[in-house]
Symmetry: C2
Subunit: 150 residues, 2 copies
DNA sequence: CCCTAACACTTGTATATACAATAAAAGTAC
DNA sequence: GTACTTTTATTGTATATACAAGTGTTAGGG
């Protein structure tokens, strides 16, 4: 739907302003969507993101700064996020031997299993998008967004 | 910068998954950017958004549901958001005569003045984007995002 | 070895947010 | 008018987040 209808607005100052709002709005929209899916598994999008990051580096553990660098929202508090996941048994943390300031964080079997359960659900979301846009079109989006942040 | 570098990730499952993450990430990125600008004026992006919505409808007042419909993030609590802005004297609220469940919310002179002060700063952000992307390119983004949400 | 600075993380605190429960007014049916 | 439903907004509560201050660890200079 056009952003104008979505936000019941008649016009924007220019295409640039509209793009700014459009990207933020669509990002929120996608995040709400995934959070609906994740809710039944008691995960926030951020927690899910951290788990996927850990799976990506598995079996090599990551420390907190590594995770923070890879997070979608760098502002959120990695310590407490990780602690939440640890309490659920989805990851382990131990002090790093060579540098005791660091912690080594690793996804557990249980975490892997949970992600495996979630994979098909997330594939569904991708399929939803593929109903709306062709591969060429999403490629274009990716290129333009990458360019925007350059 | 490419999302892969930004998130220090080697690859994504496919372009669809990358687009999903890219839009969310870039949306966050833009929101953080504007929130930096707004911070010196003690406004959150959401509060700023509400003020702009009210300016857009001025001099006609809006009630809470109207505002909620036009907000970027529909989940946030409009009542408390509006109350914060009222305390700052940026808007007024009064019970609606014809339907006393509703409230009429209107931007004040002070609110208008604040927005006027912020306009040039926000124009700067637009200009930043215009250094990276042509009008044709942002038009493409807008079309594709609108299509994605359709 | 001592002193200072840099690093990696944690904690405190104030604010924001999500979601559910509640309240009050208006509309509808009888 | 009374009972029921719907609309519109508010409040309670648990959780999340931002930002600054604090803690313990390591590194470097003299």
């Amino acid at each position: 739907m056009k952003l104008e209808e979505e936000l019941k607005q008649t016009r924007f100052k220019d295409e640039y302003q509209k793009a700014m709002l459009n990207i933020i709005f669509t990002g929120n929209w996608l995040e709400v969507w995934t959070s609906q899916i994740l809710k039944q598994y008691d995960l926030s999008p951020q927690q899910f993101n951290v788990l996927r990051i850990l799976r990506g580096s598995s079996p090599r553990p990551l420390n907190l700064l590594d995770i923070q660098e890879r997070m979608m929202d760098r502002m959120s508090n990695a310590t407490r996020l990780v602690e939440k996941l640890r309490q659920k048994g989805l990851l382990t943390r131990k002090q790093c031997d060579s540098n005791r300031r660091k912690v080594e964080i690793e996804i557990t079997e249980k975490g892997q299993a949970l992600l495996k359960e979630l994979d098909p659900l997330m594939d569904e979301s991708d399929k939803e998008i593929s109903k709306k846009l062709t591969v060429a079109e999403v490629k274009t989006i990716n290129e333009l967004l990458d360019k925007l942040r350059s």
